[in-house]
């Protein structure tokens, strides 16, 4: 029996209004984040000139370099210059690398996106499968098995997973490279091979987190009266899960995924360190230690926008999937 799914096209107007509102508040958030980062980084000991010249600098040298970097001007002026620059699409010049921030970022951003993308493509289907499967067979042996594995995977720190992975697959078996070297001349297969260990290390934690959330959400829906009703009507169970339950759980699930993905963008620092992966997170740490303000600001803006964008995307998807939310 084929049943019409209550799946209305939302009034485009309401959706656009929501998007505009969210974009507006996102811009405000970005602005506040940039202010906070600028102020906090001002509290760090030393500045770019001192860090660049190192231990052996004389005060005159530091003063000269500070002047050259423009660090001798008041912080508020530097901030305004940066702000107007970024509004015009110019992220400024890196104080340390002597090249435009844009160039440095464009070198690293694709790497981070690639790593996040591959990891997501690998984790999402597995997490969905584990989550839904163990929700359906709640209490069964397989559910308990997944429960224990995912729990221990969540509890296992990434560096442990990564290090054990390297010891087994790189050092002992010599199957996979221990460092993720991405180069422009590498073909797809060798890129994938060098990324295999980082992807697996990241995916393990991400899969476990997502699977647990998905299981909880789906299990919650399974207890709802409408599911019982559907079962009493004699609808096939697979159909109940895919067509009745799914629209109700897409919202929370997409939210979980968005959180995981935004974590993959910026939170991969440990994996980047262990595999020496030239991604954005290590670039940002680098910017902090070298006190490279323009670079630091650019990185934080990217992480923040990625987060906000993914959240917005998740909300829109949830609204489209669940007509009840459109009324609110």
């Amino acid at each position: 029996m084929i049943q019409a799914i209550p799946f209305f096209k939302p009034p485009a107007f309401a959706l656009i209004k929501l998007i505009l509102k969210r974009v507006g508040s996102s811009l405000l958030t970005l602005f506040l984040v940039s202010v906070v980062i600028f102020i906090i980084s001002g509290f760090l000991p030393g500045d770019a000139a001192q860090e660049a010249l190192g231990q052996s600098a004389t005060p005159e040298q530091i003063a000269a370099l500070r002047h050259q970097m423009g660090l001798d001007r008041p912080a508020i002026i530097r901030y305004y210059e940066w702000l107007f620059g970024i509004l015009k699409g110019d992220a400024g010049q890196s104080l340390v690398a002597n090249m435009p921030v844009k160039d440095i970022i464009s070198e690293r951003l694709p790497n981070s996106l690639m790593l996040a993308g591959f990891t997501a493509a690998f984790s999402v289907p597995i997490a969905l499968f584990i989550g839904i499967f163990s929700a359906i067979y709640r209490g069964s042996f397989i559910d308990r098995f997944f429960n224990i594995t995912t729990l221990s995977m969540v509890a296992m720190p990434e560096f442990l997973v990564a290090t054990i992975g390297v010891l087994i697959f790189s050092v002992k078996l010599l199957w996979l490279p221990s460092i993720a070297m991405v180069s422009d001349d590498a073909d797809f297969v060798s890129t994938l091979r060098s990324l295999a260990l980082p992807i697996i290390s990241l995916a393990i934690v991400v899969i476990a987190q997502m699977a647990r959330m998905i299981r909880a959400t789906v299990a919650d829906q399974l207890d709802k009266p409408y599911v019982e009703m559907a079962r009493l009507k004699g609808i096939r169970f697979r159909r109940i899960v895919l067509i009745h339950i799914m629209p109700n759980v897409i919202g929370p699930i997409v939210n979980v995924m968005a959180l995981s993905l935004s974590y993959l963008m910026g939170g991969a620092i440990i994996v980047e360190t262990i595999f020496n992966f030239p991604g954005l997170a290590s670039l940002m740490v680098n910017a902090v230690t070298s006190r490279d303000m323009p670079l630091l600001q650019a990185c934080s803006m990217i992480f923040c926008s990625a987060y906000l964008f993914l959240m917005l995307f998740a909300d829109i998807l949830a609204i489209i999937a669940n007509p009840r939310l459109q009324v609110q």
Binding site: G54, S94, M99, M181
Partner: protein, 515 residues
């Protein structure tokens, strides 16, 4: 901040003999590597421990090991330093000075930059004068102040006039910062006379160089291609070596040496170096201004324990002065201070500070300092000295803590000459006179030794300076830390140069791939 070096098995006697003979070729064949004839060809990957977006192609700005390695691949200096620590001619075919003040360097003819232009005195003068320019932010800005005049004397001759005598000029010029770039090159991009040409450079990511087929030293270099990256995480660096992804690494933690020894395909080179982490009691603060208190601290240091436990014996016992035992100018007559709790207790009582709680600042930035502080705290508790160990973050340590409290830790890298170490860290008016001591006799000797050409006379003067530092400066130098490189056994020709790992970063020109 700490920079490392590689190792080898040159023995001390060899080192001393060749140092004193003052003659011979740059790399005396001292180990088994010499049984082989260098092979040409091959491509290797090399990983150092430090990189950042500040990576540079400008020798004057070099700040980290990766920079030094890169610069020695692409450029040459007027002079160079080999395993015996003696500076020999490189781009200059000879140098001489009658009064140690006015120096005459004569360049080899026909040396070409990678772009095909010939090396002339103008390039040298440009390269040296750059260090005066504050906008270049040269690491040698302080050193260059000794240069009163640098001028050309024809196309291939250079006259350098110093403001004061300095017998060490050739060693100073052998540092990577003084490598020669092209005349007019404001921000050098790799166009040097060096053994390799730049193929790719991404700051903070990697450097690729290929063999310079027109290199001015015949038959060199041996390798076709080197890819240089940095793996800051030590465990990852060792893993990368053991998994065959990388062929040479530096800065191995002594704790990892077992893992490398366990694998027959890899080997290590331990370079005894003058690198040290020191405890600095400031003489202008209390209680560290009290000589008895400092004495108590010195008797409280268990040097063999530090050598064994912290550095797994990859270290040389130190004696509170910065010249290591394998240095040509080492004074072996200075009595060794060792752990003596009774004396420590007696001096502590006399200082009147027993029972007083004293903070000591340590950070991972000063290698081993946190553990050293804990060891001293333990021994201190046995004699009534309460050391409170403040472990602070490495980030910003040098600008906010180092030398700013009564008791902090420092970390001093090997310098090419005894004079540089003494001038930078021990001269009364030095910026980093760590303990803040003032000693007229020492300052006088330091200046006088620069103007002295005879080896024996210099050794005597530097010997007295070591005694002075040991007796009157409060700095405590428990051990000199050896630098450990790891390499694939198919890499041949790697030797220890005690100024830094990876043959003091100069390996690229000398190693070959035997496979």
């Amino acid at each position: 901040m700490s920079e490392f070096v590689g190792h080898f098995d040159i023995n001390r006697r060899d080192l001393m003999v060749s140092a004193m003979s003052g003659a011979g070729v740059l790399l005396l064949p001292q180990n088994s590597g010499a049984e082989y004839k260098p092979r040409h060809g091959g491509s290797i990957k090399v990983a150092t421990q430090a990189t950042s977006t500040a990576d540079t192609l400008d020798p004057a700005k070099g700040a980290l090991s990766t920079d030094y390695v890169r610069h020695f691949m692409l450029y040459n200096g007027l002079t160079k330093i080999g395993p015996d620590l003696i500076a020999r001619p490189s781009l200059a075919k000879s140098f001489e000075s009658i009064d140690l003040k006015k120096w005459h360097f004569i360049l080899h003819r026909g040396i070409r930059f990678h772009d095909g232009s010939e090396l002339t005195s103008a390039d040298v003068i440009w390269s040296l004068n750059r260090h005066f320019d504050a906008r270049v932010a040269s690491k040698m800005a302080t050193i260059i102040k000794q240069f009163a005049e640098i001028k050309a004397d024809g196309r291939y001759d250079i006259i350098i006039e110093l403001s004061d005598k300095n017998a060490d000029l050739p060693s100073i010029l052998a540092q990577s910062h003084f490598l020669i770039v092209k005349n007019g090159d404001n921000s050098p991009k790799g166009n040097g006379t060096g053994p390799f040409k730049l193929a790719e450079f991404k700051p903070g990511v990697r450097t690729v160089v290929v063999k310079n087929h027109d290199y001015w030293i015949p038959d060199r270099p041996y390798l076709d291609r080197i890819e240089l990256i940095a793996i800051p995480d030590e465990v990852s660096r060792v893993n990368a070596l053991l998994s065959g992804d990388i062929q040479i690494i530096n800065a191995i933690n002594p704790r990892s040496t077992k893992r490398i020894k366990a694998n027959k395909k890899y080997d290590m080179l331990a370079t005894p170096s003058a690198l040290y982490t020191d405890l600095i009691p400031r003489q202008d603060m209390m209680p560290t201004g009290n000589p008895d208190f400092v004495k108590a601290l010195k008797y409280l240091v268990d040097r063999p324990l530090i050598k064994r436990a912290l550095f797994r014996n990859f270290a040389t016992i130190g004696n509170d002065q910065p010249i290591p035992p394998f240095h040509p100018f080492y004074n072996n007559a200075v009595a060794q201070t060792s752990l003596d709790l009774d004396r420590a207790k007696w001096h502590l009582k006399r200082s009147g500070f027993d029972g007083v709680r004293i903070p000591v600042y340590a950070a991972p930035a000063a290698e081993g300092s946190v553990d050293m502080a804990s060891i001293m705290q333990e021994y201190g508790s046995r004699i009534g000295l309460k050391l409170a160990v403040n472990r602070v973050p490495s980030d910003g340590y040098w600008s906010t803590h180092w030398m700013r409290h009564a008791l902090t830790f420092g970390n001093v890298n090997p310098r090419p000459t005894a004079d540089l170490t003494f001038s930078l860290f021990f001269k009364s008016d030095a910026e980093w006179n760590e303990s803040g001591w003032k000693n007229e006799r020492f300052d006088k000797l330091l200046i006088a030794a620069r103007g002295e050409a005879g080896f024996n006379r210099r050794k005597q003067m530097y010997g007295e300076m070591q005694q002075l530092v040991h007796d009157y400066n409060s700095v405590i130098i428990p051990v000199f830390i050896s630098l450990i490189d790891g390499f694939d056994r198919r890499v041949k020709g790697l030797k220890a140069v005690p100024l830094g790992g990876m043959m003091a970063y100069q390996f690229a020109e000398y190693v070959w791939w035997d496979a």
